[in-house]
């Protein structure tokens, strides 16, 4: 078990009562504002002493209130990116970045350069934190946590203040950290795309309670979770193996349901990836459509239809051994006569499979598939 | 009600006399004690004092413009003594013997250029040819009581204070009394600052309280 958390804590007017076990990799903490995400992360970092509970990271017990065990924060070796960046105001950016180094081994100049360039903060090294912009501050905070070479990363909405371009630069780095350094990561985010790309496990919190927990592939393609995530965020995650990189910038992948064409992914042929297909980006057709710009057409069978509050219907297809989710209107569902067991085709635009939704599959890495 | 400004070395004796005056006349006595310099400056600034008792004629001279003519007179005299902690051996008044005594600590005196007991003491030592050899070993305090305390605590092996002070401190003994001729005469002048009957009554009462002053070791001047 990479991460095991059991916590009860009471604030006036709010009760946290959670327990979850997460395997190696990225565990996403998901939930509305005020649902208790930061509270959980603080307890893992040792900044909050919960009324009762136990926390184990990679087999190391950090907290066990029953046995009166409570490893102090500095000994927990967490790399925490706070929701409010909390830079040290009296140190310049370089000294902020170097602060955690002393117990992470000797300073590694190459790593420093790599991280600051990736975060686009290499020109800010001599600046005082108070003069940084919001996004710059958050990026320095990320760098500071990464450079401390922690045993576990706690990321509390690390990318909220950043633009899409910058996010797209930071996410692959986190992904590599997860895979190369085998660093367990607890990741708080509102953005399903980020979560889907990174997370092995998803925990959904509501009012301090865990309402759903499981493998990212399952949770994110479960229509029952959709209401927790918001309509736009539903989508299925498929496992796909890279077959070929084409000259025109596309990569061809094999899923259990059929071939997929994606924008070039920078991984070796044979790698297994996790590809997220948002339900709203899928068009259904009873006949195999022709002459469309969309390259990906996956055959499948309707396994369930779920009517939401609005005009939409969430259709779950069995496609090979995987599942595909599609959101269509009630009107379309009727026009196409979609019922359980009906055979149909899912049309997915190549480019609508966003790069951010492709992640290397961590479980597969572990099985030695790579 | 009569307000008396008095040098702090007169505190205890005046308290006793004031109580007696109150008992006899029914007038309240307000006794404000501080250093003579402080009191004199306050009088010059219009302090509401009826009587001034200074520990030194200079400060009485300084306020001469404020006093009721004809009321000034030198009320008391005092003597200067060399003291040591109670169990100390006698010592001869020579530079060598005193210097020997002072190897373990200083000679405690009031400020030798400012506080009357100090200036008298300095004059006496100089008269005896002892000032030059001993000057470097003199620890000066801001009032004579502090010098007395230093000797009483054993911090200073020798001290120069008034005979009146030494009298009431059991932890010290008098080793020698300085010849009155060796220093300017020690005088406590008194004067009325207001021409009220109660002021005059208090002055008269002071003059009549010879026994009390004597009992406290003062010399009462005619």
């Amino acid at each position: 078990m990479s991460l095991s958390v059991r916590l009860t804590h009471r604030f006036p007017g709010f009760v946290l009562d959670t327990a979850f076990e997460a395997p190696d990799g990225v565990t996403a903490l998901f939930g509305k504002s005020g649902s208790g995400k930061t509270t959980v992360v603080n307890a893992v970092a040792g900044l909050l002493n919960p009324d009762a509970g136990a926390v184990t990271v990679n087999g190391r017990t950090l907290l066990d209130t029953e046995n009166r065990l409570n490893v102090p924060t500095p000994k927990r070796r967490v790399g925490y990116v706070f929701q409010d960046a909390r830079l040290f105001p009296h140190m310049n950016v370089a000294r902020n970045l170097g602060y955690g180094r002393w117990w992470g081994g000797p300073p590694d100049q190459a790593e420093m350069t790599r991280v600051t360039q990736m975060l686009g903060i290499d020109h800010l090294l001599h600046r005082a934190p108070l003069t940084l912009s919001g996004g710059e501050t958050q990026r320095v905070a990320i760098g500071r946590a990464l450079l401390a070479r922690p045993d576990v990363l706690l990321l509390d909405e690390p990318l909220a203040a950043l633009d899409a371009t910058r996010k797209a630069e930071i996410l692959p780095y986190l992904e590599r950290l997860r895979s190369d350094a085998k660093l367990p990561i607890l990741y708080v985010s509102h953005a399903v795309a980020e979560v889907a790309r990174l997370a092995t496990t998803v925990i959904v919190l509501e009012d301090g309670k865990v309402v759903r927990t499981g493998a990212a592939t399952d949770v994110l393609s479960d229509p029952a979770t959709v209401s927790k995530l918001g309509v736009r965020e539903a989508g299925a995650v498929l496992q796909a193996r890279v077959l070929h990189h084409h000259d025109d910038g596309l990569s061809e992948l094999q899923t259990s349901a059929g071939r997929l064409f994606l924008p070039r992914v920078q991984v070796e042929i044979g790698t297994t990836l996790r590809v997220r297909i948002p339900a709203q980006d899928v068009i259904l057709s009873r006949a195999r459509p022709k002459g469309l710009s969309a390259l990906n057409i996956l055959p499948g069978t309707v396994t369930s239809l779920r009517q939401g509050d609005g005009p939409g219907v969430l259709v779950q297809l069995a496609s090979g051994t995987d599942q595909v989710l599609a959101r269509v209107t009630r009107r379309s569902a009727q026009a196409l006569d979609l019922v359980e067991g009906a055979a149909c085709f899912a049309v997915v635009k190549t480019v609508s499979v966003a790069r951010a939704d492709i992640g290397s599959d961590h479980a597969a890495d572990q099985r030695g598939d790579v | 009600r009569v307000t008396v400004f008095a040098a702090s070395s007169l505190t205890s004796v005046l308290t006793e006399i004031a109580e007696d005056f109150e008992a006899r006349t029914g007038h309240d006595v307000t006794l404000s004690v501080a250093g003579s310099a402080t009191l004199a400056r306050q009088i010059l600034s219009g302090a509401p004092a009826d009587i001034f008792l200074s520990a030194n004629p200079d400060w009485m001279d300084a306020v001469s413009a404020e006093i009721v003519p004809g009321t000034r007179n030198d009320l008391l005299g005092n003597q200067l003594v060399l003291i040591a902690p109670a169990r100390a051996e006698p010592v001869t008044l020579t530079a060598a013997a005193l210097g020997d005594r002072l190897r373990n600590g200083p000679l405690a005196m009031a400020l030798v250029d400012a506080v009357p007991a100090g200036t008298y003491g300095k004059a006496a030592l100089r008269h005896l040819g002892l000032w030059e050899p001993l000057a470097a070993q003199v620890a000066q305090t801001d009032n004579v009581r502090a010098a007395l305390a230093l000797v009483a605590l054993g911090e200073a092996p020798l001290g120069i204070v008034y005979a009146t002070d030494a009298l009431v401190e059991p932890r010290v003994r008098v080793l020698a009394t300085f010849d009155p001729a060796s220093h300017p005469p020690i005088r406590y002048p008194v004067a009325a600052l207001t021409d009220r009957s109660v002021s005059r009554a208090f002055l008269a009462h002071l003059a009549a309280a010879r026994a009390v002053f004597k009992q406290h070791g003062f010399e009462v001047l005619p």
Partner: protein
């Protein structure tokens, strides 16, 4: 300046600087304990620190004499063990000044420690800094304006201290005669006002200089934080 004045001034500076420098670490420690500590007797410590402010200086000086005099166990022990004599020495004057300045110093530093955002310290702890390290690298530097303020208050107080000093170490020219003692002496003599004035002006010039230096230091510290 006459040679005598010069002696008094340099002695005053020596006493005040030592008093400030030596009491600063203790001041920081006590301020930290009062700001952050939770221990029985905390309010007692708080009270003891304030004592020199509350008591008339003479009493403090007298208590020092009773504690650190050569005839006292503490005084004897200090002399035997460290060869340190306080009574009637400038070292004693420094001690008296330090003790009188201590409550001012502690208050200023404590106030600054209490203003440090504990969330910043938490961040340092997550980065592996032990409590001591957090204190040395985060709390202390962030408290610097308060420490500077405490030091200058302490120094100013030490420059002006009179009652406790003269009671504890008397007035020995060249050894314990600080500026305030010299001023007091001059004030006791009718017509001494002129020399009082000279000495007072000297005091003011020295203290003003120290004040300006401290303000400049504090501005530098502040500027560094707000960005070069």
């Amino acid at each position: 300046m006459t040679p005598l004045e010069w002696e008094v001034v340099s002695l005053s500076l020596k006493v005040s600087l030592w008093a400030t420098a030596l009491s600063l670490p203790f001041g920081i420690l006590v301020a930290l304990m009062l700001a952050r500590g939770q221990f029985p007797g905390k309010q007692l410590l708080n009270g003891i620190v304030h004592l020199p402010l509350i008591l008339p200086p003479v009493v403090t000086g007298y208590l020092l004499l009773l504690t650190f005099g050569r005839r006292t166990p503490v005084g004897a022990w200090l002399e035997e063990t460290f060869g340190l004599v306080l009574a009637f020495r400038w070292t004693g004057a420094a001690l008296a000044a330090a003790i009188m300045a201590f409550p001012l110093m502690v208050r200023a530093i404590r106030l600054a420690i209490e203003a440090v955002d504990p969330r910043i310290e938490d961040a340092a702890a997550t980065l592996g800094a032990s409590r001591l390290m957090v204190f040395a690298t985060i709390t202390l530097p962030l408290t610097l304006p308060g420490i500077i303020a405490g030091a200058i208050l302490g120094f100013a107080k030490a420059m002006g201290e009179f009652g406790a000093t003269i009671t504890f170490v008397s007035n020995i020219p060249g050894e314990t005669q600080t500026l305030p003692s010299a001023i007091y002496t001059a004030l006791q003599v009718p017509g001494g006002e002129a020399s009082v004035l000279r000495l007072v002006i000297l005091s003011i010039i020295l203290a003003m200089g120290a004040l300006l230096v401290s303000e400049w230091l504090a501005r530098r510290v502040g500027r560094r934080m707000r960005g070069s």
